[in-house]
């Protein structure tokens, strides 16, 4: 899981709070300075598209605040979300020209970016950056494959439970809460976005959430605010053998 690979302690990488530490954890001071030089911020409003699939993408970076999604769309409009970007997540592919997916802000979003060319040059001269990036990419790959199991073999109910578990765990660990007991969080996605993530329709998502609520597995305050009184029960519903999903 991403969070465990390095500490989330605050550090001195300007005002982008978390993840660049991942890239530069072992950097010397002058390397940090070089990163500072090629760093800049971009803000987006909820609903805005960061990049379209196929567009030239001349930066890499990470989410400072807000949520973004990675989606693929077929010509007939069917869409599949392939990744959820939460604060501290990295976006972009060193060594690639175009974006492979649509990146869309689902809330107001601030990203901390590095121009790609100089970032790539740094990578070449600073081996542990490439290694750190390799670790992160392997994590993402594991998450994507975990999600393939969800998409290919789980029932609607299990899919919903899996998604709630992932978001809940992720939220809990960001706020460094223990995961054994009650968990509270806000859903960062509309029912439709959840459906796109899970390969379902929004109606099915809504029905299954209602069912989980009816059965006391979750409690809802409003449409988005979720309380999970017993996390292990949610995990059971998710059909998770391991102690939980990896995605994002």
């Amino acid at each position: 899981m991403l969070q465990e690979d390095f500490s989330f302690v605050s550090h001195d990488c300007g005002d982008c709070p978390i993840r660049h530490r991942a890239v530069c954890a072992r950097c010397e001071t002058d390397e940090l300075e070089r990163l500072e030089e090629i760093k800049y911020y971009r803000s987006f409003e909820a609903g805005q598209t960061v990049v379209w699939s196929g567009d030239r993408m001349d930066f890499v970076g990470s989410v400072v605040s807000g949520i973004a999604t990675l989606t693929q769309t077929m010509e007939d409009g069917r869409t599949q979300m392939v990744g959820l970007l939460l604060p501290s997540d990295f976006v972009g592919r060193p060594g690639r020209e175009g974006a492979a997916y649509d990146v869309v802000a689902t809330s107001d979003l601030v990203m901390c970016c590095f121009r790609k060319k100089p970032f790539e040059q740094m990578m070449e001269t600073t081996p542990h950056i490439a290694q750190r990036l390799l670790q992160m990419t392997l994590d993402e790959l594991d998450a994507a494959r975990e999600w393939m199991l969800v998409l290919g073999r789980k029932t609607a109910r299990e899919k919903i439970a899996s998604l709630l578990a992932i978001i809940g765990r992720r939220d809990a660990s960001i706020n460094s809460l223990s995961i054994q007991e009650k968990i509270v969080f806000d859903l960062p996605l509309t029912r439709e976005a959840m459906a796109d993530y899970l390969g379902l329709t929004l109606e099915t998502v809504s029905r299954q959430i209602s069912a989980l609520k009816r059965e006391g597995i979750i409690e809802l305050q409003g449409k988005r605010h979720v309380t999970v009184p017993d996390f292990s029960r949610l995990l059971e519903e998710a059909g998770d053998d391991s102690d939980g999903g990896l995605l994002v």
Copy 2:
């Protein structure tokens, strides 16, 4: 697509024919020698398991000949294939202890392995190896995400067509044939394995293959030998907007 990132020309990396070129394309002679030193071969029979998920995995390597699959299994037996390893594909995660998935040989299999520790040490001192590995991992990540669209949003028929297209394209490019015209290849998987890949049952796989055959999209000689008279028609059936899938 993997194949385009480097040339598939034969080279001097011992008798493992292809992919290590990927790892060592820019290696100096002495680096190649160091790779030689930590290299060894392993053979498996069809059906044998290479590693179980969770096992300690102390090597990385690539497939020399034969086919292997990467699968995940839930406690109740539902399984999802998350990757297909064809000759030249890389397996293993530098910097990781255990295997994340079951790796199973579906045919007789020869792998060329490197002991992980020394390989990791080489990575640290030879930056372009980490970079090359990063590229390969990004390719795999793209492939996995492409497959998420297949699993989440495509119909059974589209799933089958997508799989045939991927295998066909891959086969054609290995034999360096053009892809525009007739394509002929052997299915490396049983119906059941195809089902596990596609998130279907083997009955549905069988029915859809029969349907594609009935309609002349594909021809079958025996159960496994496939002829695709018009590849673009197959791609249409796959619902592929892009010029085709990436997976594996």
